[in-house]
């Protein structure tokens, strides 16, 4: 790792995107990437706390979790899984387009923008599906904790399903917040791409957005089987 500081000043002597406190683009991009990976690690650790809570709940009440999970829509969850997987691909393509893009090339910028738009669209679809799922749960009174009223709507779930739905809403809710934040970042990156900022000289921004988006995707890949496909 230590050699990075000695990196020869091959590129970037004239790179306008290098901030004052970095020696060269290599150092700046390296720092940005390491920072992003560390950030992702903290995100994973945060979710892992919730996963732990989930597993403990499942250990305490295995039958209740089995019973309650029947009420989650596997179709909706499945569609969302596909959508997110596809969006990971489009995101990867956006990063790729930035990495090979020529500085100042309109076409290359348009390519980045196209893939970003596609990813944004997927994120939108994901949220819409989630919206329908949530409203169904609301209607049936399958709400977290003390708001749980499904038994009044004629759904008898054995045990203490309010804990399952509590965990369901916290986990998917926190994940949903991450999707929203991701969309915000993508819009910002999109605007920067429109200004033609990204090219093989400077693509750390797109790359880090990509890393973040893959994490959001990854978390969902765990959420889906654990919550929807318990059996």
């Amino acid at each position: 790792m230590s050699d990075s500081t000695h990196a020869a000043h091959t590129d970037g002597e004239h790179n306008p995107y290098v901030a004052h406190h970095f020696d060269n683009m290599g150092q700046q991009a390296g720092a940005a990437k390491l920072g992003m990976w560390l950030f992702l690690a903290t995100e994973l650790l945060m979710f892992s706390g919730l996963f732990l809570a989930y597993f403990i709940c499942r250990m305490w009440y295995p039958d209740m979790v089995l019973g309650a999970h029947e009420y989650l829509s596997k179709t909706a969850g499945g569609i969302n899984t596909c959508v997110l997987l596809f969006s990971s691909w489009t995101m990867a393509m956006a990063v790729r387009s930035a990495q090979v893009g020529k500085p100042g090339s309109k076409e290359d910028a348009a390519k980045i923008k196209k893939y970003l738009l596609l990813t944004l669209l997927c994120a939108g679809v994901f949220l819409v599906v989630k919206y329908f799922e949530y409203s169904a749960k609301f209607e049936h009174g399958m709400l977290p904790g003390k708001f749980y009223t499904a038994h009044l709507h004629g759904y008898e779930i054995e045990g203490l399903p309010h804990i399952f739905f509590g965990i369901y809403f916290i986990m998917t809710g926190l994940h949903g917040v991450h999707v929203l934040v991701g969309m915000g970042i993508m819009i910002w990156i999109y605007l920067r791409a429109s200004r033609g900022e990204f090219s093989h000289q400077n693509y750390a921004g797109v790359e880090n957005t990509g890393l973040y988006w893959h994490l959001v995707d990854l978390v969902w890949i765990f959420l889906f089987p654990l919550l929807y496909l318990v059996k």
Binding site: G35, S48, I167
Partner: protein, 546 residues
């Protein structure tokens, strides 16, 4: 050791120092300069130390008599809760990384700034927001859960525990971002020649701290978030009435909070390594051992959280395993303490205020550390848990460990930060009073604890009166010592205070290779490191034995 072009005059730099480089309030509030952020952190943490210290003095005053007389029961509960919460979340955790770390880390590495200066600013503002939230609890119903937020008390109390939990959640993010920034800075921003084994030990300590911050804080974030959600949605994970388990919370909480005690102390270790070497002009003893034991502590500290739950009803086997691992964490700490004492051997010791604090630290921290061994001996902890023995233990490591190191560090780098000298005589008087007051305040509490005095009691059996009174008097002596220390530092702001020059202590590490206060971009020319930061010119290389 490092080389610098001789042409640049450090004592009369042609560029303005970082205070003068930009003007106006806005240039401070939106600064991305790590030195300015360091100074802002320093001011904030000192403020919170005084606020929380004031609460401590108030609660000690209540404890003068066995009866409840000076404050009401619920006020007392709020006093120790806010004292503990502010001291931990707003003072001790951000203190050294936020203030000294920010100021010194890039300087010591020979960098122009931290890796992400804007992120640095952001984490300062997040920290301020958290501070506002925690202080708001004062007017919005108070906070009476104890700093540990144990459920189901915290999920059922009528006070502002929800807001406080959110405040701690937010403070956690500031801590995570700072840690992340520092890890990247250490990995990517070192000056040419600044290899890992040439980094000052302070940098190593901050680095190990940052790693713990990154790995542990997210779990705290999710834990307090769950408490917050539990209060509003009643999901029932921690609430036995709804099918949850209150002890689960304790596991979550201590999984963070035990590593957090090393977040608190490791930077202090770093400061002590610097102070003891510089003021005895000796190469630090066992550089590798000190550096790597920090990393060892950082790793083992994740495996010992259960020693806070010895009497909570966790299974016996689990308790025993945690007891074992806790002993394991004491070994790397012992290595450090021995190495520091060995560093003094054959030195040329200068007795000035920072060195006084450095030497005091060895005394107080060792007492704090060895009393931790009583607590990790599982059968003895059954008696001592939640008594004043624990209170005394953690004040010896936190106040006697980190705070004394921190004050020593502030004195040590004060000439660098302000460009001028503190007042030496009052500095030493303050240090003496702090030392006496501290030992009187908390030394007595070991006896109280063994006699069975439980903590968080505002009224107690009359048989504990004498010890409590001695302790309270000690806390007044301690407070006066701290006031005098503050006075000594403030004397540097006089126009007539003596100028410090770039390197008043004759130290070797890079932060002394720039003017005091440093110029905006730290170094006029990027420094090139060629040797150890502890290679003092006084060291006898002739091969004679001592």
């Amino acid at each position: 050791m490092s080389e610098q072009p001789a042409s640049y005059d450090l004592e009369n730099p042609s560029e303005p120092n970082f205070y003068k480089a930009q003007k106006g309030l806005k240039s401070w509030l939106f600064t991305v300069d790590h030195k300015r952020l360091g100074v802002m952190y320093l001011a904030s943490v000192i403020l919170f130390f005084f606020v929380a210290g004031f609460l401590a003095i108030a609660l000690r005053t209540e404890l003068l008599t066995p009866a409840q007389d000076f404050v009401s029961a619920s006020t007392y509960n709020q006093l120790f809760t806010l004292h503990g919460a502010i001291m931990t979340f707003l003072f001790i955790i951000p203190a050294t990384p936020g203030a000294l770390g920010n100021f010194l880390l890039p300087l010591m590495l020979g960098a122009k700034d931290v890796a992400f200066p804007r992120l640095n600013l952001l984490s300062f503002w997040i920290y301020s927001a958290a501070a506002v939230m925690l202080l708001c609890t004062l007017v919005l119903g108070g906070l009476d859960t104890g700093w540990t937020f144990y459920t189901p008390y915290s999920t059922s109390t009528g006070t502002a525990a929800g807001l406080a939990a959110l405040g701690v959640f937010v403070a956690g993010f500031s801590s995570i971002l700072t840690g992340l920034n520092f890890v990247v800075t250490v990995h990517r921003m070192r000056a040419p020649g600044q290899t890992w084994d040439r980094m000052p030990l302070f940098v190593w300590a901050i680095y190990a701290t940052a790693v713990i911050q990154i790995l542990a804080t997210p779990v705290l974030a999710i834990t307090v978030l769950l408490v917050f959600i539990e209060r509003f949605l009643g999901i029932g994970i921690f609430d036995p009435a709804m099918g949850g388990d209150p002890v689960l919370f304790q596991h979550f909480f201590w999984f963070y909070s035990h590593p957090a005690v090393y977040i608190m102390i490791l930077p202090g270790f770093g400061i002590i390594s610097e102070i003891l070497t510089v003021h005895s002009r000796k190469h630090v003893f066992g550089y590798k051992a000190i550096a790597l034991s920090s990393v060892a502590i950082a790793i083992i500290s994740f495996l010992v959280w259960g020693h806070h739950l010895f009497v909570s009803g966790q299974s016996e086997l689990v308790g025993v395993i945690f007891s074992f691992l806790t002993f394991a964490v004491a070994v790397p700490t012992a290595i450090k303490v021995f190495s520091w004492v060995a560093t003094l051997y054959g030195g040329s010791i200068v007795y000035n205020t920072p060195m006084w604090y450095g030497l005091m630290f060895l005394w107080t921290f060792t007492i704090g550390g060895v009393t931790g061994l009583y607590l990790s001996t599982i059968s003895v902890d059954v008696h001592l848990h939640d008594t004043y023995f624990v209170v005394a233990h953690f004040h010896y490591v936190m106040m006697g460990g980190l705070v004394i190191a921190f004050i020593g560090g502030v004195f040590h780098w004060w000439p660098k930060i302000t460009g001028r000298f503190y007042h030496e005589a009052s500095g030493k008087l303050g240090a003496l009073l702090v030392f006496i007051g501290f030992n009187v305040t908390f030394g007595t509490q070991f006896f109280l604890g063994h006699q069975g005095m439980p903590r968080r009691y505002f009224a107690y059996l009359p048989e504990y009166t004498t010890m409590h009174q001695i302790s309270t008097v000690g806390s007044y002596i301690l407070a006066s010592g701290l006031l005098i220390a503050g006075f000594s530092l403030a004397m540097a702001f006089r126009k007539s205070a003596p100028k410090a020059g770039s390197n008043p202590w004759g130290a070797v590490s890079l932060e002394w290779k720039t003017s005091s206060p440093p110029i905006e971009h730290n170094f006029h020319d990027t420094p090139h490191v060629t040797g150890s930061p502890y290679d003092f010119p006084e060291i006898d290389k002739s091969g004679r034995t001592h």
